[in-house]
Symmetry: D2
Subunit: 410 residues, 4 copies
């Protein structure tokens, strides 16, 4: 039935995504996928960059778009792919992030005791059942069990369609032009050698630029201190909410899926033994969190109320970032002052003062390398192939330390 | 205190909004304004254009940015403005849409019995009290009581900063490049003559383009039939929810502000007599609606459940659009079929079949005209000034008719 | 030999043109085509819009890019095309403007007594000989003799790849954003019905926008009065140069191809009888004209010297534009004054005062109509299909009158 | 006379340059400046990136635009500037490259025996005379003699308006998105401390990005091997032409300014003793070179004819690039083969085989440092301030070696 053929507008690529496969169309129409409309790609980043309201759904569709182009480029270069493999790669990228919960990374581990990848796998398995096994190839690609290894690399590696899409997309919606990547050029330079995804020699500069842009996006957007502040407040609010729930408080959420997950610590094992759990999890998204926080901003518990109000009305805590760890004394002093400021108990003051670490490396030598294919047929790691980004540069990991504390104590 | 000076990134203008006034900064920080973060500019449009998640907050800031530029251009051209007038115009544009409820226009009249402009006025008056009268000039500009009439025209007319920003912004986030307007050029061509905002002769083509682009955005985006379908479903769901609330159903929303507004019909008069009402209204935004719909998609009432599920999971009804009204017979037949399809009562079937009218004119001769200033000092309406867009063209109003009905009956 | 496969960067389409066919590559490499590097797409427009230095070569490659996409879209929609037809359409669009001389339209008829289309045909025929007949299909498409009529429409009609490329390209390089057209959308909406190129119903608004944008580009760019002024000066200079050549002056160009064409009036017939003529014509481009004008700006003849200097150093004449013809008296007075101003003979003064007509219609009912394909399978002309751009609007032809005269007489 | 106030469209900045000063307007109108219309910013780069036809004139105007913004930002931050200093900085940036000859850098030293900066100074001095000394401040800024040192840094340093404009402009016209720089952000972060231009701490990432982008543009555009090939051919052709001129050949250029400069070796001293020399130099631009090459491509001398033809018809020589110098044997063999291939004398074969070095460092520790101003008031060099781009990285100079030889010998 080609009448399902569909075109979706995407401002990032100045054009359209064309969906040709019925099953891809059906997956997109599934409630599991549609829920991604209600999960922002970048959590609280919009508190700094107001345009950053884009969703996981738009990212998944964008990554599918890039996958389509990449597969086409590889086929033109003589890489043979069966219809089933093409479809598998498309579905794998479409579903690679399906397991995200509210505010994407921000809520990871706070609602269920597992990484979002594990959760993605649960959703995929369920969909595979519903679609009579037609997602099996996609799952094997996602889990790196497919014999054509490079298909997995297109979905998950240091130069995958996921990263290419999110860098471009996050640049577009934040307005941070520094993140712009020569996506078209990189995709045009993709190739396969010895079952590995590689980059044609001519693409070296674009890959260098990609590595640098990604790093800049980390410091300018993903690890922006205001976003860190909001995340910290949310972690605190959720911890406090859990604590209150343990004491019997229904948090104004009686009977809701969110309350279910805040009053339990479900593990992957639980999800596997109770198939209904994933369906309940699928009911939770950013809107539940936003509503809960608004409700909690009028809660009787001072800690929960204060933290929630700070998020809802963007009265965020102060953050300091430094190149070395903060003196524990400093945190301790802030805690004592917070106790007075908010009139809370000593052990409650720790909700208002948090320290932590921000870390990013341009490139990860423990992950899949980015390999460059030279004209003479040889392949080398980008660290060797690049004139400029040598191993010294690439291995360097930047670590920073932050402390969050009440703005009033600044 | 210049330490409040702040720069905000806006992807639409490829740059920054600089906020220089403390009071502007304080208004932006106010919960009434921060709530606009949780109200999408284009309601359900993201169901068609997934990028269209941008908020009322980003639009208000963008319009402020254009206002800043416009005031600068006018001053360079010799228009004299006091500090108070500049500030007033800035605040007026910042707050012009503060009264919007969830999903912007979609929920207008459904929660309270007044237009969003009336609601904006209520918010402004309250803020004026809070800020010790410093918003008075802004209010007089907004309400067109300020002696310098053109300041109101910058806020509200057929070529105001509101329209310029939303056309550009909505084009940007939907990816519909047809809506792109030469904003810079138009603003550079603004002038004032006899206390009227006018366009320098050289800007005629840009204004023509603006009028055409706006019309195209109407048909391609604002009145897109899929958006109409979703709006229709929401109207139905809210109507049904109100009906059930009258019958004593708490809709799973007991004690929430949303329930308050769904179980009453507050008028502007009510808002004026009970000052707390506006504060409760300010607590409602897109997230409440999203949560309510998700909850209702599992409600026992078939009508409410069905309509809500169709929105939440994007299983929208079918829509047909035609140049003449649909035969009442057609609607009637669809209703009978819906009754069977959903197993509901005859009077309930009307929730599933809706007819209506879509209407747009390129230009409104009953509104403020767009006037062109010629080199010889004379002014003429754009309809006279333009070689191409004559009155015949501009007056033409396009009317279309739609019918929504269950997809299964297609 | 796929080693000729080549990627060319094009800033307009944010990406690449991929050349797959050897013969296409060979045509691009031919001196006839390479000379288009030295012919600006928009003649003197860069005097107003300094970015508008783009060449006929870049336009030809861009139009080829759009042709590739259009052919792909049509094939996906089930239009059957042989390999030979695809190649023919590609070459036809690549060569459609090969016959342009210096400054594109500006020098038409000044060097040879024929339209640039006739000249394009001469080049094509010659190339067809050189390439052993492999351009025959392209020529039959170009000349509308190919049985698949729609292929010609892709090359030359009111919605062809030529117009789509030049509108987008000229917008890009001038910076006049009003000309931006939803090229991707229009191409995605192309279809074929009854051997006619048509637009799917969903593309109506984009076509409306295209028609409006094109009109705006005419008045804002192509017929810009400063460009008209420069063109007028060039016509004068060339006329004067011819006159002097008749009198035996070698114009500092003795032995050059440009002199050959300035001292003769070659007709199409001449080109057909003397095959070397086209080769000599191919040696002339913008650089010859620029050099000649610089040389002439120091020539002893006052008329030639004055006109040339005005072009070279952008000391252009004044232009007035009006909606009705100028009084012949006005021109006559300006001529008398010019005589004094430049100290020239009465009959020479006419070089400095020129009147003329500027004319543009949005749409030409005498040309190929733009037809819209409705879902019910019916086709209608855009004037009937559009709600807004009715025949009244489309037929309207705007005519303006200009007079150019020495700036000093302003 | 504010009637000279002028707006110029620039596609790069999505808007306009407004010219407010009469003298700036008059300089732009001067033939010395207008000649920059006929000098491409990037010489032969358009042979690889066909969009790169932009001129020195557009770059000079763009840099002026950035200077205007930078001066405004500095003034808002409290840097005091007199009217004369503002004007001086504007004129200095406008004229910083006025001395370029045909194809910009490509022809440096080939026509006159001095750097383009020396030539710029000559033009500036002459203009200063013509304008009655009003350019004196601009010259003192340009030559770094002005007491406010940071004004010179805005014109010429490692983060000046020149570089900011050319990186953005060259990216725009080539379509190499890797070069895009956050110009707005960098300019917003400019500041002055101790009479030095500095970058506010928040701008660190943008400066890092700027350094990386510039490096990438070097390797991807400025030192592109095809451009190197064309440059090499031009050097060869000019050397040969000079040699033939020494032997009495007029090169088809008798009496032209180009011939004057090809048959002499004028030094800066010559220019200073003969004031008419600079005027003759001002008559030479890209068009003369293009015409000469076309003429020479039919010259009787095999060397000149062959080299010229290769440029004109883009039949470029082959280039190999390597990380170490080529074996002299290789060049020697290629020369012997060339002798046979072109049937030329042994000493003529060296025109067809050239070796050379390409060199670029990201940052130059011998030049003005880029200094970062921290919140605590301290300043540090970018190499110390950046977490990632340490001295090791910044000091690294990349050197490559190339050899050009006839394509047929590949």
């Amino acid at each position: 039935m080609t009448n399902k053929r569909k075109i979706i507008n995407d401002p990032v690529y100045d054009g359209f995504l064309t969906i040709e496969d019925d099953i891809v169309f059906d997956i997109i129409s599934h409630p599991y996928f549609q829920r991604l409309r209600r999960i922002k790609q970048l959590g609280f980043t919009h508190l700094v960059y107001p345009g950053a309201m884009h969703t996981r759904l738009s990212h998944a569709l964008g990554a599918l778009n890039l996958m389509n182009r990449a597969l086409e480029v590889l086929q033109v270069k003589g890489v043979e792919l069966t219809r089933d493999e093409v479809l598998g790669a498309r579905i794998a990228i479409l579903l690679h992030d399906i397991g995200h919960g509210p505010y994407s990374h921000t809520s990871e581990f706070m609602l269920a005791d597992m990484r979002h990848e594990a959760c993605s796998r649960l959703f995929m398995e369920r969909l595979n059942e519903e679609f009579g096994g037609s997602i099996a190839t996609a799952i094997s690609i996602f889990e790196n069990r497919h014999p054509k290894h490079f298909l997995h690399q297109l979905v998950s590696s240091q130069l995958d369609m996921d990263r290419l899409d999110y860098l471009g997309r996050d640049s577009f919606f934040t307005g941070v032009s520094e993140g712009i990547v020569g996506t078209d050029r990189i995709i045009n330079m993709l190739n396969v050698r010895d079952d590995q995804l590689v980059i044609d020699e001519k693409g070296i500069y674009s890959v260098e630029k990609f590595i640098i842009s990604r790093r800049l996006m980390y410091w300018q957007v993903y690890l922006h201190k205001t976003v860190v502040a909001a995340d910290t407040l949310l972690f605190g609010a959720l911890r406090r909410a859990r604590r209150l729930a343990e004491g019997g408080d229904t948090l104004g959420l009686a009977g809701t899926p969110l309350f279910d997950f805040l009053s339990h610590h479900y593990s992957e094992q639980d999800f596997r033994s109770d198939p209904s759990l994933i369906d309940r999890f699928a009911l939770i998204d950013d809107s539940d969190m936003a509503c809960a926080l608004k409700g909690w901003s009028r809660h009787s518990d001072t800690v929960l109320r204060t933290l929630s109000d700070q998020i809802v009305n963007r009265r965020l805590c102060a953050v300091r970032v430094a190149n070395r760890p903060f003196d524990p004394e400093a945190a301790s002093t802030f805690r004592t002052q917070s106790q007075l400021l908010y009139n809370v108990a000593a052990d409650e003051s720790e909700y208002f003062v948090t320290t932590g670490v921000l870390r990013n490396h341009a490139y990860d030598y423990n992950d899949q390398e980015i390999r460059v294919l030279f004209k003479d047929g040889s392949c080398r790691d980008i660290g060797e192939a690049s004139d400029q980004l040598d191993r010294h540069f690439l291995e360097k990991q930047v670590t920073k330390y932050y402390i969050c504390f009440p703005k009033e104590l600044r």
